[in-house]
């Protein structure tokens, strides 16, 4: 028990260091990147004098070290700053965009897992059969498809062709929660299909590793049913790489559904980051990347904890 507590503390300490590094690195990268929020905001007609005036108004003419100190102090007080373009606190901007990103991630991963686990397991069990070969080929193709292309195809077929789903956006002012979720069906399908290919391949490979193990053979020799052998003996032991890849997929979806959110015009976190980078909205870039990094390390932390639950050897 003491070892688990120590491991937890060790991991938490690591998380704090990672986040401190993220804060610093993001601040430096954002400031050394050419481009100026004042110039973007004022448009192409602006003169250098206008830009300098707005920079001063925004506090961007202050020394970098002062800006950094202000940023870090703000974080310590729980304040991620104020968006230059949106005119609202970064935390509020993030909160408003959390809903589409959360549900997009949830639906995508559900679609991916529901497809990938049974197909991956069955493909491993039926290794070398035509079914297995079809799965191997299809997953290779699906993993190679860019999600934005798949998204555009889904829009053409199901939004333009059939009219079943909206082509883009997240609804208007009078859109109900259920209707908003309806806007997520196509992007979630696009992301879910692409992610399912990766998880299927990992599941298949992990299952193949364990299906030849002595304890599986022993279980069969003891007369256990095939379902029990596969689900209880083989799958449980194959879970570590599967959990890892699912965890990584979730983390990447939270942070990296950037292209899909842009294609579908979803006002999510990915879209917020892209817009902020193009506009050089420094506080939003800094705040969002910090939160995304925090989610990322948190998911990794949860995955590590799951290892301990599913594999007694890790606990020791």
């Amino acid at each position: 028990m003491l070892k688990i507590s120590q491991a937890l503390l060790h991991r938490l300490g690591g998380m704090v260091i990672v986040l401190a590094l993220v804060v610093t690195v993001v601040f430096i990268i954002v400031r050394v990147t050419p481009g100026d929020p004042a110039a973007v905001m004022l448009g192409s007609d602006a003169t250098p004098e206008d830009i300098a005036q707005l920079r001063a108004k925004m506090g961007l003419d202050a020394p970098l070290i002062a800006q950094y100190a202000q940023f870090v102090l703000g974080i310590l007080k729980g304040d991620l700053g104020q968006s230059i373009f949106l005119g609202q606190p970064v935390a509020q901007a993030l909160a408003e965009r959390a809903e589409p990103t959360f549900f997009l991630t949830l639906f995508s991963i559900l679609i991916a897992v529901v497809i990938a686990l049974p197909v991956g397991i069955f493909s491993a069990v039926k290794r070398g059969t035509p079914f297995d070969q079809v799965v191997v080929t299809l997953t290779m193709v699906a993993a190679s498809i860019p999600s934005f292309w798949l998204g555009l195809m889904l829009i053409q077929v199901f939004a333009v062709g059939q009219g079943w789903f909206p082509a883009s956006g997240y609804g208007g002012p009078d859109t109900s929660f259920v209707e908003r979720l309806n806007h997520l069906v196509l992007p979630a399908a696009a992301l879910g299909i692409v992610n399912s290919a990766l998880i299927t391949r990992f599941t298949r490979a992990a299952m193949l590793d364990v299906l030849g193990e002595d304890y599986v053979r022993t279980a069969r020799a003891k007369g256990a049913g095939e379902g029990r052998v596969i689900l209880k003996h083989a799958l449980k032991n194959a879970l570590i790489p599967i959990i890892t890849v699912i965890g990584l997929s979730i983390a990447m979806l939270v942070a990296g559904a950037v292209v899909t959110e842009t294609v579908f015009g979803l006002p999510g976190i990915g879209n917020l980051v892209v817009s902020a980078v193009l506009r050089r909205d420094y506080p939003v870039i800094q705040g969002t990347l910090l939160v995304v990094a925090a989610i990322y390390v948190l998911i990794n932390f949860v995955v590590d904890m799951l290892y301990m639950i599913v594999d007694p050897r890790v606990r020791q």
Binding site: V40, L42, I155, G163
Partner: protein, 507 residues
């Protein structure tokens, strides 16, 4: 700051009875959904007069004057054209009576004076105007008087764009309440999701037949929603699927697809803007006039525009800064605008004593046509004997770099055609490129002193000739804008900044 909600209900019910029966019949409960290229950075058009801001803002705010179909300034909130003193230094502008703001307050001269004062302190063009304005003062409740230090011919043109009138009590350094006199009022703005405008029931329209932005304005649709859709393909598909009633700035490659659709049709707005290569006259290789002229003569505008827009339906090549059909169209001075003459360019390169230093050509892929123009320009300049470094950066980087004369020699940009020719950026001394010349100053002064339209046209011809001689820029060509509109919208009229008053939504 909570920008989210600005409810405009207060005066609607009380004043609804003023609507004429005809107007009431035309009104609809429908909603127009407009897909735009992105989220406006703000709704403060004085501070940020970009196209996306002006497109949305023109429904909410109004200016004293606006542009008619010939891009002449005509009254909007002004009651009539101004009374100008004989020396051209005093403008008395009468204001329309009975006009209300969205918060129910009455529009009067105090609002105009306060708004114009803010405009002259925060807006680029407003600051230029401020340098010649002696005073702006009330003349009773329904008129103002602008006194100038010297004649300023583009005054009405500058009062037709971004010089929006807001209630005097709302004037602040940073605008938080977006209240205007326009046919639509802001109800809610959710950044990156939508900007929702609702019909202003107490709106008082100017008289006259609708013409570009002038004349009768009727808020037929109950509501307009501007939805940012940054991906151009998604705008196309959303239009065709019926999700959007109007989709702005479509790629020219989508023309056939939209045309073949049962639900929507393409809209081409001719001469939406012009592309140019702007040269650095302050530092670097191109400070020598002969070398700038060599760049002018080396380039082939037809090839550059064809590479950029693929199809002749979407561009035209014309040396005149203003295209044919515009009041300001003139062929004065355009001799070096042509088909690319490497030999003539080589002669000028020799005359300019070019030492082989590479020309740093800045362009951006954020506007794909800028990049394509840059690629072709590089080839032609190379053929003439220039060494060229094509530097492809994002637009934000380009706008920063071009402010520093040490970092570039040419940058590619585009502009629209303003109502007044002297409001073209390049003419401003401080605009990147830093075009300062005695002959330009003299030509511009002649324009500013012009007393009537004929004198202005003549003076503009002189300015264009000087621009071609000094060569601060190379005009590449004019381009058309492609948009798409639902077939269920019968009465949409294309304008540079698309507007949706006088537009009937689908039932």
């Amino acid at each position: 700051m909570m920008r989210k909600t600005l409810l405009v209900a207060s005066c609607a019910a009380a004043l609804a009875g003023f609507t004429s029966p005809t107007a009431a019949e035309a009104r609809s409960d429908g909603v127009l959904t407009v897909a735009t290229v992105g989220e406006p950075p703000t709704l403060d058009a004085m501070q940020t007069p970009t196209d996306i801001v002006l497109t949305i803002d023109q429904h909410i705010f109004e200016t004293l004057f606006t542009y008619d179909a010939e891009w002449k300034s005509v009254p909007l909130l002004a009651a009539a054209m101004p009374e100008v003193s004989e020396d051209g230094l005093t403008y008395r502008i009468g204001l329309r009576e009975g006009v209300k703001f969205h918060d129910g307050s009455a529009f009067d001269s105090e609002d105009v004076v306060a708004s114009l004062s803010r405009w002259m302190s925060v807006n680029s063009k407003g600051k230029q105007v401020a340098s010649v304005v002696e005073s702006v003062a009330k003349d009773g409740e329904h008129a103002i008087v602008i006194k100038l230090k010297s004649r300023y011919a583009p005054l009405l043109a500058t009062l037709s764009q971004a010089s929006i009138i807001i209630p005097s009590e709302k004037v602040a350094d940073t605008l938080t309440d977006f209240i205007g006199t326009g046919p639509y009022a802001l109800k809610e703005r959710k950044p990156d999701q939508y900007t929702q405008l609702v019909r202003f029931e107490a709106y008082k329209s100017p008289e006259g037949e609708a013409s570009n932005y002038a004349g009768k304005r009727e808020a037929i649709a109950k509501e307009i929603r501007f939805v940012p859709v940054p991906d151009a393909n998604t705008r196309v598909e959303g239009l065709i699927s019926g999700q959007f009633d109007y989709a702005d700035a479509l790629p020219v490659s989508a023309f056939e697809r939209v045309e073949a659709s049962d639900s929507a049709g393409p809209v081409i707005f001719e001469n939406a803007g012009w592309a140019s290569l702007n040269m650095n006259m302050k530092e670097g290789v191109l400070t020598k006039k002969a070398l700038r002229q060599a760049v002018q003569v080396a380039l082939n505008p037809s090839d550059m525009m064809l590479a950029a827009f693929s199809d002749e339906r979407f561009f035209s090549v014309d040396g005149s800064i203003f295209p044919e059909g515009f009041l300001w169209h003139t062929e004065e001075g355009i001799a070096r605008y042509g088909e690319g003459d490497p030999e003539a360019a080589a002669a000028l390169i020799e005359e300019g004593g070019y030492d082989g230093t590479p020309i740093r050509l800045l362009t951006s892929r954020q506007y794909e046509f800028h990049y394509k123009i840059g690629e072709v320009a590089k080839a032609y300049l190379g053929a003439a004997g220039f060494k060229v470094d094509l530097e492809v950066v994002d637009w934000a980087t380009l706008t920063t770099r071009r402010a520093d004369p040490k970092q570039w020699d040419i940058f590619i940009t585009h502009s629209n055609f303003p109502g007044d020719p002297t409001t073209i950026n390049t003419i401003t001394d401080s605009y990147p490129g830093w075009y300062v010349s005695d002959q330009k100053a003299k030509a511009v002064a002649a324009y500013m002193a012009a007393a009537d339209q004929d004198q202005k046209i003549k003076a503009w011809q002189g300015i264009q000739a000087v621009i071609y001689d000094d060569a601060p820029l190379v005009k590449v060509g004019n381009f058309n804008a492609l948009a798409g509109v639902s077939k269920s919208i019968p009465d949409y009229t294309p304008t540079y900044w698309p507007h949706f008053w006088n537009v009937t939504p689908k039932k």
